[in-house]
């Protein structure tokens, strides 16, 4: 593909991106969260259309509109979340959407031969074809999906974070399959942010950063340190207002906390007047950690306490009573009730402030909501406007103001600046500094390293469910954070 660009409203998701993968080659596509990898994937598969730019497969121009176009042109994707029908058999899944038959009747024999040929090409002739896919382990399910791509005669195979839910053993097996496919002349794009894996499997690389190609070339010619530099190297603007604040006594104490899957054995203390940042890659268990603390996800072991108030981690209701507040990373699905008004969304956690015996005083509530809207500079027509009609930045301001309204002392922010404009980002950073200065404790998850390094007092880095290392922000560099987050040994 050459010169591909894509804008979403004010956001330039991709700009002038070109990449090339040859037959019998594995290209690693590398980038931080939000660098544009998934947008690129969606353009390749036809889910989005590029604003500018061209693509071609095997010399023929390729302009996908629907997912089926990709298959016809020989482009197949293996998504992180597998696309399988768990109740159907392995064979039925391999041939799903490509059934061979006569007048709607499936030809069993042909199917069996095609499925067998596909699993044989994978070097997995022992994969059982007659059991429901749902009964296979994840690693085998992935093979079923790859086999499906082979049946459709794919020339280019794209893997999106294929190892994120695999064990090391399974990963090694998958790499054997990928090498087999490469030697059979297939072009493979391998998307991952585990750099060690990339080093093992890829021949060439392309690094994306902020929607642009930051660098590309042969894998043999670079060190992983070079790639990390390409991933994070960006200029810092005057985005981060400095509000002086000083950490004092501990407010949140997390002891040996484990959740269902992630996190594992977390020990953590956040003080009043402190902004604590959690860094790590998607899937490292940061969100799960904060959700366990707030009581949204089940806690398997360990304890969470707010000093002098009581235990957290039981239910959101209990946590709110103990003075904790949570801003979800997913505004649309969880954080806000989009069809309801600004006033409702702002005051839901503490309607009791404006009600007596279960009856609301709408007028006094509206007055207070107006005050908050002014204070956080929320651009809207009035408290009764549906929150779904506001811009992302203004929605997020309301989601954060909800915690201030409920007078929370412990603020849990999950990606508080995702998908919002720079002006609002700066406002939110300043607000966070002011809140810390008032003696509140803030625990923030972010995938945007400059934000963590400039806003937080201390930063902890998570990888595969564990909190690997905590240092004061001044003692981290973005490259060091990436090293720890990608599971490499700590440097220096």
């Amino acid at each position: 593909m050459a010169g591909v660009s894509k804008r979403f409203g004010a956001t330039q998701a991709l700009l002038d991106v070109s990449l090339q993968v040859d037959r019998g080659e594995v290209l690693a596509l590398i980038g931080e969260n939000g660098a544009g990898k998934s947008t690129l994937m969606k353009i390749l598969s036809g889910a989005y259309r590029a604003d500018v730019g061209t693509m071609s497969v095997g010399g023929a121009s390729y302009r996908p509109v629907r997912p089926v176009d990709g298959r016809k042109a020989g482009v197949a994707m293996i998504y992180q979340e597998l696309n399988l029908t768990p109740h159907l058999t392995v064979e039925a899944n391999i041939l799903l959407g490509q059934e061979r038959g006569l007048a709607g009747w499936v030809r069993g024999g042909t199917h069996r031969r095609l499925a067998q040929a596909a699993v044989a090409r994978l070097g997995q002739p022992n994969l059982p074809l007659d059991i429901p896919v749902g009964q296979l382990p994840i690693a085998k399910q992935q093979l079923v999906e790859i086999a499906r791509a082979l049946v459709s005669d794919a020339k280019v195979l794209i893997f999106d974070e294929p190892t994120s839910s695999l064990t090391e053993e399974d990963t090694a097996a998958l790499f054997a399959v990928i090498r087999q496919l490469r030697s059979s002349g297939m072009g493979i794009i391998y998307i991952s942010h585990f750099l060690d894996e990339v080093a093992q499997i890829a021949d060439t690389y392309t690094v994306l950063r902020d929607g642009r190609v930051a660098g590309s070339g042969s894998m043999a010619a670079v060190t992983l340190d070079d790639i990390v530099r390409l991933m994070v190297g960006r200029e810092l603007s005057s985005l981060f207002p400095n509000v002086p604040h000083a950490p004092s006594e501990p407010l949140l104490t997390v002891h040996q906390l484990s959740g269902a899957d992630a996190p594992q054995d977390i020990d953590l203390v956040v003080r009043r007047g402190e902004v604590f940042g959690l860094a790590g890659l998607v899937g490292a268990g940061r969100t799960e950690l904060v959700r366990c603390v707030f009581g949204l996800d089940a806690v398997r072991a360990g304890s969470v306490r707010v000093e002098q108030v009581g235990p957290l981690g039981r239910s959101p209701r209990q946590s709110i009573r103990c003075g904790a507040g949570f801003v979800s990373e997913d505004r649309k699905e969880e954080g806000l009730a989009l069809t309801m008004s600004i006033a409702d969304n702002l005051t839901f956690t503490r309607l009791s402030l404006h009600s007596r015996l279960g009856w609301l005083n709408l007028r006094s509530r509206e007055e207070e909501v107006r005050k908050w809207m002014q204070q956080i500079e929320c651009k809207a027509v009035g408290p009764q406007q549906a929150i779904g009609e506001l811009s992302g930045g203004n929605q997020q301001k309301i989601a954060i103001a909800r915690l201030l309204y409920q007078q929370a002392d412990l603020l849990l922010f999950d990606e508080p600046t995702r998908g919002i404009d720079i002006g609002t980002k700066a406002q939110i950073y300043r607000l966070m500094g002011e809140l810390a200065a008032q003696g509140k404790a803030i625990l923030m998850i972010s995938s945007y390293l400059p934000e963590l390094l400039n806003v937080c007092d201390r930063i902890g880095v998570m990888c595969r469910g564990r909190l690997r290392e905590v240092r004061s922000a001044a003692q981290w560099t973005d490259e060091e954070i990436m090293h720890v987050a990608t599971g490499r040994e700590t440097v220096g």
């Binding site: 409203g9 004010a10 956001t11 330039q12 998701a13 700009l15 939000g34 660098a35 544009g36 902020d210 929607g211 949204l296 239910s315 959101p316 209701r317 946590s319 709110i320 009573r321 949570f326 979800s328 699905e333 969880e334 954080g335 806000l336 009730a337 989009l338 069809t339 309801m340 409702d344 969304n345 839901f348 956690t349 309607l351 009791s352 009600s355 279960g358 009856w359 609301l360 709408l362 651009k379 809207a380 027509v381 406007q385 549906a386 779904g388 009609e389 506001l390 811009s391 930045g393 203004n394 909800r402 919002i420 404009d421 720079i422 002006g423």
Partner: protein
């Protein structure tokens, strides 16, 4: 990702969005009214050679015939706004109605019997709510099951036949659905007035109470409600109990309407009429939207249709087809008006 500030145009944009939002909400508020008006006008026009369609007597009759469905639909409005559904209401209506008849025949004090019937309604609703939250199954499945359970209970209570209780019914209970004589200040029957009054109460509760806000929050986004500390299971149980309470009253109406008898086969397909009333009135089955006024207009529209078809001599099968088409059209228009939002 690189981003630019959207500050300069945001204010103008917001205003524009808001104006269209207001226009849209006004239109979607008016749609049920317009529907009712159009239906009435059509019948008036067809019937003009034979005389006026909406005579005073017919208006009283329509109010009376709407009362049972409308009462049930008030409860269903709460359930549907909260993002749920209750298919068991028709069976519950029969259970309440036969229970009332059986208790009156057994010599239970009528006041107490009415109180117990309302309790049965609430308990049955709470039963649904407990199963839905306890088993974490969708309300459609749970209430599909309880639809059969309640129907079976109704037959057990009635010993599989109708229970006649006209002699044991005191006047205050017996006259709930009596058409008022010409010139009466009440104009419509006591039962129809109860629908109006409870409708107003419910509308106020939905708008001005914490419970009401939580009902909308639950339907708009359950995850948000949970995150904001709403006790989601308790709210759901309460919502279905409220629905059951209204079905208890509807059961008492039906008992009256059938000539003071409890019929274990009564209320057949009533759940569909009740759900249709809410949906015609702008309620969304995905939750978060619905209004008392809309629901009452929806229930009225269906009765006007039935009455009108009878008056102008449209046959029963054709009438069914028309009502079905109206339901689909109402939802399609509603969807059209709300598309592109969120």
């Amino acid at each position: 990702m690189s981003q630019q500030s959207d500050a300069p145009s945001a204010a103008a944009d917001t205003k524009h969005v808001h104006v269209t939002a207001i226009i849209r909400s006004v239109i979607s508020f008016l749609v049920p009214f317009i529907g009712l008006l159009v239906v009435t006008l059509i019948f008036t026009a067809i019937n003009l050679p034979n005389g006026w369609f909406l005579t005073i007597f017919r208006m009283k009759l329509i109010a009376n015939q709407t009362a049972t469905v409308a009462m049930g639909a008030l409860g269903m409005t709460v359930i549907i706004i909260s993002g749920g559904i209750d298919l068991s209401v028709g069976s519950l209506l029969a259970l309440c109605s036969v229970s009332l008849a059986a208790m009156l025949r057994a010599g239970v004090d009528p006041m107490l019997a009415v109180f117990l019937v309302l309790s049965i309604g609430m308990a049955a609703g709470a039963f649904n709510g407990v199963l839905i939250t306890g088993l974490r199954l969708v309300p459609f499945i749970i209430t599909l099951g309880s639809m059969l359970i309640f129907r079976g209970l109704a037959h057990l209570v009635a010993d599989q036949k109708k229970i006649q209780a006209a002699e044991q019914t005191p006047a205050w209970l017996a006259n709930l659905m009596t058409i008022t004589p010409p010139g009466s200040w009440k104009f419509i029957s006591t039962g129809a007035w109860m629908v109006v009054i409870l409708g107003i109460v419910l509308a106020v509760v939905l708008r001005y109470s914490v419970f009401g806000r939580y009902v909308f929050a639950l339907g708009s986004n359950e995850a948000t409600a949970r995150l904001c500390g709403v006790n989601v299971p308790r709210m759901k149980i309460a919502v279905y109990a409220v629905g059951g309470f209204f079905m208890g009253i509807a059961g008492i109406f039906d008992f009256n309407y059938l000539g003071k008898q409890g019929d274990p086969t009564g209320g057949d397909a009533m759940e569909l009429k009740i759900i249709a009333a809410v949906v015609i009135g702008g309620g969304s089955l995905s939750g978060g939207r619905g209004s008392v006024l809309g629901t009452l207009i929806g229930a009225l529209t269906m009765t006007v249709l039935t009455t009108g078809c009878n008056v102008v001599g449209v046959s029963d099968p054709v009438e069914k087809i028309i009502i079905g088409a109206i339901i689909v059209a109402a939802v399609a228009i509603d969807r059209f008006l709300h598309r592109g939002r969120n």
